[in-house]
C-alpha cells in the first residue's frame, strides 16, 4: 500500500519552542518535499531532498531546516518557532530518479499553530 505518513496531524506550540515534523514513505522514493499551505498562497516549497543527506532549499527555506538520514524518512525542524509559521505543512514524495518533475504523493498534512 503506497503511503506517505505525517506525524503529528495537529500540533500547538508556543513561540520560541522547537518543532519537529516527521514524514515517512514506504515507496522507496528518492525525492521528498516539504511544502506549507496558506490561504491565498497555495503550496509553497520549503525544502526538497534528493536522497539521504542531499537536501536543497526550496522557495521559502528561512526559519526551517531538514534532516534526511534514511531514504524513507524526512523531517522538518523549526528552531524557535514564530507565529508566522502557523500553517498547514505537507510532506510529499516522488520517484524522480532523474531529478525531473513528476507525480507527487502527499501526506495528510500537519496543522501547526504557534501561539
Amino acid at each position: 500500500d503506497m503511503k506517505v505518513t505525517q506525524m503529528p496531524r495537529y500540533l500547538i506550540k508556543r513561540m520560541g519552542e522547537n518543532v519537529l515534523l516527521e514524514c515517512g514513505q514506504d515507496m522507496s522514493h528518492e525525492t521528498m518535499y516539504w511544502y506549507r499551505q496558506d490561504p491565498g498562497l497555495g503550496l509553497q516549497l520549503i525544502y526538497i531532498s534528493y536522497d539521504v543527506d542531499s537536501n536543497s532549499e526550496g522557495d521559502i527555506p528561512k526559519g526551517y531546516r531538514v534532516s534526511r538520514k534514511k531514504r524513507e524518512h524526512f523531517s522538518l525542524i523549526l528552531d524557535s518557532a514564530k507565529t508566522n509559521q502557523t500553517s498547514v505543512y505537507f510532506c510529499a514524495s516522488s520517484l524522480s530518479t532523474g531529478r525531473s518533475a513528476e507525480t507527487l504523493y502527499f501526506g495528510s498534512g500537519t496543522r501547526l499553530t504557534v501561539l
Binding site: 497555495g42 503550496l43 518533475a101 502527499f106 501526506g107 495528510s108
Partner: protein
C-alpha cells in the same frame, strides 16, 4: 514573483456544465504541467498531467489544454458533478532541468451547484 498563477480564486458552475480552470506560468523552461485536486482537510492528489510535447490530453471528463507560446494551461471538466467541488491546484516543473521542483499555483475553489 509568483511563477505559477491562478487568477481566479473561485468558480461556480451548474451541475452538468463545463468547468474551466486556468493557470498561467512565467518560466520558459517548464515542460511538465499538472492539475491536483484537494478536498478540505485532505491531501492534494494528482488528477492529470501533461508534458510539453503535446498540447492536449484527455482522460474521461478531464481535458488539459497547453498553450506554450502563451504560457498558459487549462483544465476542462465536462458534465460537472457536485462531487467535483474541491480546490484545484495547477503545478508546473522542469522535466529536463535537473530539478524535481514542482511549483504550485494559489488554487481555485470550484463549486458545482445542483
Amino acid at each position: 514573483g509568483q511563477q505559477v498563477k491562478q487568477s481566479s480564486p473561485s468558480l461556480t458552475v451548474q451541475e452538468g456544465g463545463i468547468s474551466i480552470l486556468n493557470c498561467d506560468y512565467e518560466n520558459d523552461m517548464f515542460d511538465y504541467f499538472a492539475w491536483y485536486k484537494k478536498y478540505p482537510d485532505n491531501s492534494p492528489t494528482l488528477l492529470i498531467s501533461v508534458r510539453s510535447n503535446v498540447d492536449k490530453r484527455e482522460d474521461g471528463r478531464l481535458t488539459v489544454f497547453l498553450n506554450k507560446s502563451g504560457k498558459h494551461f487549462s483544465l476542462h471538466i465536462t458534465a460537472s458533478q457536485p462531487e467535483d467541488t474541491a480546490v484545484y491546484l495547477c503545478a508546473a516543473g522542469e522535466n529536463q532541468g535537473g530539478s524535481a521542483k514542482l511549483i504550485f499555483g494559489e488554487g481555485t475553489k470550484l463549486t458545482v451547484s445542483s
